[in-house]
């Protein structure tokens, strides 16, 4: 499929396309910085690439043009997966894609912050993950990972001039009319970065007229833990525990998708049993993700009882995880080429028991809220976003489905054998807070349905592939033979030798499409890993969603977007 697209593009642009390739079904094209906007616009308008998934920068210090900027595009209508590559030298600018996709704003800021690639025409090119006092660019290969830079102050997000402008607009006073010399009477309020309703470390500065939000600007990076730099500093399988802490509400999903991405690059096929186990644990993780999101969202809008009902089920699932992986939250269960170990005896019975309790909890909670007048007043029509706008902001997952678009990676590009299961993709209609909440309730029922099917037809057989280059040898062999010991030693110290190349592995995470863009230079450590965090583009639209609404609406909207700081800031 990607070959036809590449041919069409070459006909259209001729020599402007410097090079093309097909990598694991992704159409990859190289263009010069000056042609980038034209090609990207063509892809959006003519090839229906409505979604800009991510912008990933890679540093190759030995090359003349040191940086490579990748635009990851996706067409939902035509199922294209496209990557546009632009090579730039130090200081050379790339034309910004912000006029084409609104989510390009934050993605490009991130590349600027971490690699120092400037974007011409970008409206607000500031740092985003590192603090404003930071010097240098952290993801460059010559920046030492341990070189911390303390920060002593907090950045003001609105300048005095902007506050004044917003104030005038809010009062409807002509710019030259007000000569009273009185200070602006808009109130500047910080929500976060330590605030119970932000569920983590986010900060939003709002300008208030009474209780109405006139303008808002959000700031992230308070939980930047350098996942991508850490990944370059560890072997491929040592990255696994770091993935736990991306979206810590559904660590098993991150584990499985990380393993899936590296397996794609390695070109290995996992066993049928492993695929089924990954489906089961992924769906259990999706349940915990949605349960935390819904419980917290409901408690934020005053429905406390529901929090206990939903949390009790989640506690039950955590006890399963604890038995399965030895840890409740940070599971570290998947392995490249398999799983850490098989399911424990009695896993199926316990899971089915807790799924029964889940059904009960969903019934109880939807019974309490679905037609509750206060709940409806707080959520219906609040923070609504249209389908087109959601796509431009890079929405995926439940937030996109709430707008009525049935895009789910499990259907779009099935992995782990999701095509063998019978499940529906629930969609909303209005893209508002109510729809986002209800879509999650329905998705939990579908996840439970998938788990029940998977448990019924769980195939027998080995969990791990039989490949000593990837999988650690059994302990008897390590302690009983020199080959086993050498094998263990090589895999632990040097890591899995992943062939040089690139792959973008992706799956349906708790909040939407979670992807890992992995670049290998043929050694045991990744050269570059770029996470495509689903809530990053979603949160970039938050200011737009809350402007014009009231403060309590802002809280209800934030909860329904399900922003997880670990994944947002990485």
């Amino acid at each position: 499929m990607s070959r036809k697209l590449l041919e069409r593009l070459q006909q259209e642009f001729g020599t402007a396309i410097l090079r093309t390739a097909d990598q694991h079904g992704d159409a990859v094209i190289w263009v010069a910085p000056k042609d980038a906007t034209v090609v990207l616009r063509h892809l959006r308008d003519r090839e229906q690439c409505e979604l800009l998934l991510d912008v990933a920068g890679v540093d190759y210090p030995e090359r003349a043009k040191r940086f490579e900027v990748n635009y990851l595009l996706r067409s939902l209508a035509r199922a294209h997966r496209v990557r546009v590559k632009i090579d730039v030298a130090e200081g050379e600018a790339v034309e910004s894609a912000t006029p084409l996709w609104r989510c390009a704003d934050w993605h490009e800021r991130e590349v600027f912050d971490l690699l120092g690639v400037p974007f011409r025409g970008h409206p607000d090119l500031r740092r985003i993950l590192c603090h404003h006092e930071f010097e240098g660019h952290a993801l460059r290969k010559d920046y030492p990972i341990e070189q911390g830079q303390p920060c002593v102050s907090t950045e003001k997000l609105f300048g005095d001039h902007e506050i004044e402008q917003a104030s005038r607009r809010s009062e409807g006073v002509a710019a030259a009319g007000d000569e009273s010399g009185l200070p602006s009477d808009l109130l500047t309020v910080n929500i976060g970065p330590s605030h119970p309703a932000t569920h983590g470390a986010l900060r939003v500065e709002v300008l208030l007229d009474g209780e109405t939000v006139v303008r808002a600007r959000s700031e992230i990076g308070y939980l930047h833990r350098c996942f991508e730099k850490e990944a370059e500093d560890h072997t491929w399988h040592e990255v696994m525990p770091y993935t736990d802490r991306l979206n810590y509400c559904s660590a098993l999903l991150n584990n499985a998708i990380w393993a899936h991405s590296v397996e794609k690059l390695l070109g290995v096929q996992i066993t049928p049993r492993c695929r089924a186990i990954r489906v089961i644990v992924s769906e259990l993780a999706r349940l915990t993700d949605h349960l935390v999101c819904l419980a917290a969202n409901l408690v934020d809008i005053g429905a406390l009882t529901n929090y206990w009902y939903l949390y009790n089920v989640r506690e039950g699932i955590y006890q399963i995880f604890d038995k399965l992986c030895g840890s409740r939250l940070t599971t570290n269960y998947a392995r490249i080429g398999g799983m850490s170990h098989d399911l424990y005896p009695g896993f199926a019975e316990e899971t089915l028991f807790h799924l029964g309790r889940l059904d009960e909890a969903i019934r109880d909670v939807t019974g309490l809220v679905a037609r509750n007048r206060i709940f409806l007043d707080r959520t219906v029509g609040v923070g609504a976003i249209s389908r087109e706008e959601a796509l431009s902001w890079g929405y995926t997952g439940p937030c996109l489905r709430a707008t009525g678009l049935a895009y789910d990676v499990r259907r779009f590009a099935p992995y782990f054998g999701y095509e063998e299961y019978d499940f529906d993709i629930p969609v909303g209609e209005h893209g508002d807070t109510y729809d986002r909440i209800m879509v999650r309730f329905e998705e939990m029922k579908q996840s439970a349905r998938i788990i029940r099917q998977a448990l019924r037809k769980l195939p027998e057989g080995p969990v791990n592939i039989d490949d000593p280059r990837v999988i650690l040898p059994p302990k008897e062999s390590v302690y009983g033979s020199i080959e086993g010991m050498m094998n263990q030693f090589k895999l632990i110290y040097e890591g899995i030798q992943v062939p040089a190349g690139e792959a973008y592995g992706f799956g349906e995470g708790g909040n939407g499409e979670l992807g890992f863009f992995c670049v290998s230079n043929g050694t045991g450590r990744p050269w570059r890993v770029k996470v495509r965090p689903p809530c990053f583009p979603i949160f970039s639209s938050y200011s737009r969603l809350i402007e014009g609404g009231m403060i309590p609406d802002a809280i209800a909207i934030l909860g329904s977007l399900n922003i997880i700081a670990g994944e947002l800031d990485r």
Binding site: G148, Q149, T154, H224, A565
Partner: protein, 168 residues
């Protein structure tokens, strides 16, 4: 307080200190400074199954001015550090700090350019709870240990207490 409770002046003073500390240890008002994974386990600790209120510390306050126990749950980045310091200094005496999880205690396995290598570099810590993240039982254990410490303590403000300890 009008009376100098620290002076060794007799029976009543000692008993008063004990009475006050007994009250304090069973009515800690925690401020969860939750930033990451540990905050999720803090939520589990507050929920029905583990129930923090059994130990008298269920009155979670989100204003530093109303709380006396700061539970730092999660990784503190350099960007977050000035905010944590401000929140701590806004708390009234007497106040205590629990560093929940390895990130807050030492930076954990995030030894990198963005992560503060332990909150004790910027604020004094009374109790460290190990784990990544600690289980709810582990946090409850930390709280009980802190209660014992509260019971042993004099009525000296935390800042002074830590200054003395630093001298010794």
């Amino acid at each position: 307080m009008a009376v100098d409770l620290e002076a060794p002046s007799g029976f009543l003073t000692t008993r008063l200190r004990q009475a006050i500390n007994w009250g304090r240890k069973y009515s800690l008002w925690p401020l969860p400074f939750g930033t990451a994974c540990c905050a999720i386990e803090f939520m589990s600790t507050v929920s029905s199954y583990n129930d923090l209120s059994r130990f008298g510390a269920e009155l979670v306050r989100f204003s530093p001015r109303q709380s006396d126990l700061l539970i730092v749950a999660g990784t503190i980045s350099y960007k977050q550090a000035p905010i944590l310091k401000t929140i701590y200094s806004q708390m009234a005496e007497p106040k205590w700090v629990i560093a929940m999880g390895v990130c807050a205690s030492s930076g954990g396995f995030y030894n990198n350019y963005s992560t503060l290598q332990g909150i004790d570099r910027i604020i004094p810590v009374d109790f460290y709870v190990a784990g990544c993240p600690p289980t709810p039982e582990n946090l409850l254990h930390g709280l009980v240990m802190l209660q014992e410490k509260v019971a042993r303590e004099g009525l000296v403000p935390a800042t002074e207490r830590h200054a003395r300890r630093a001298q010794a």
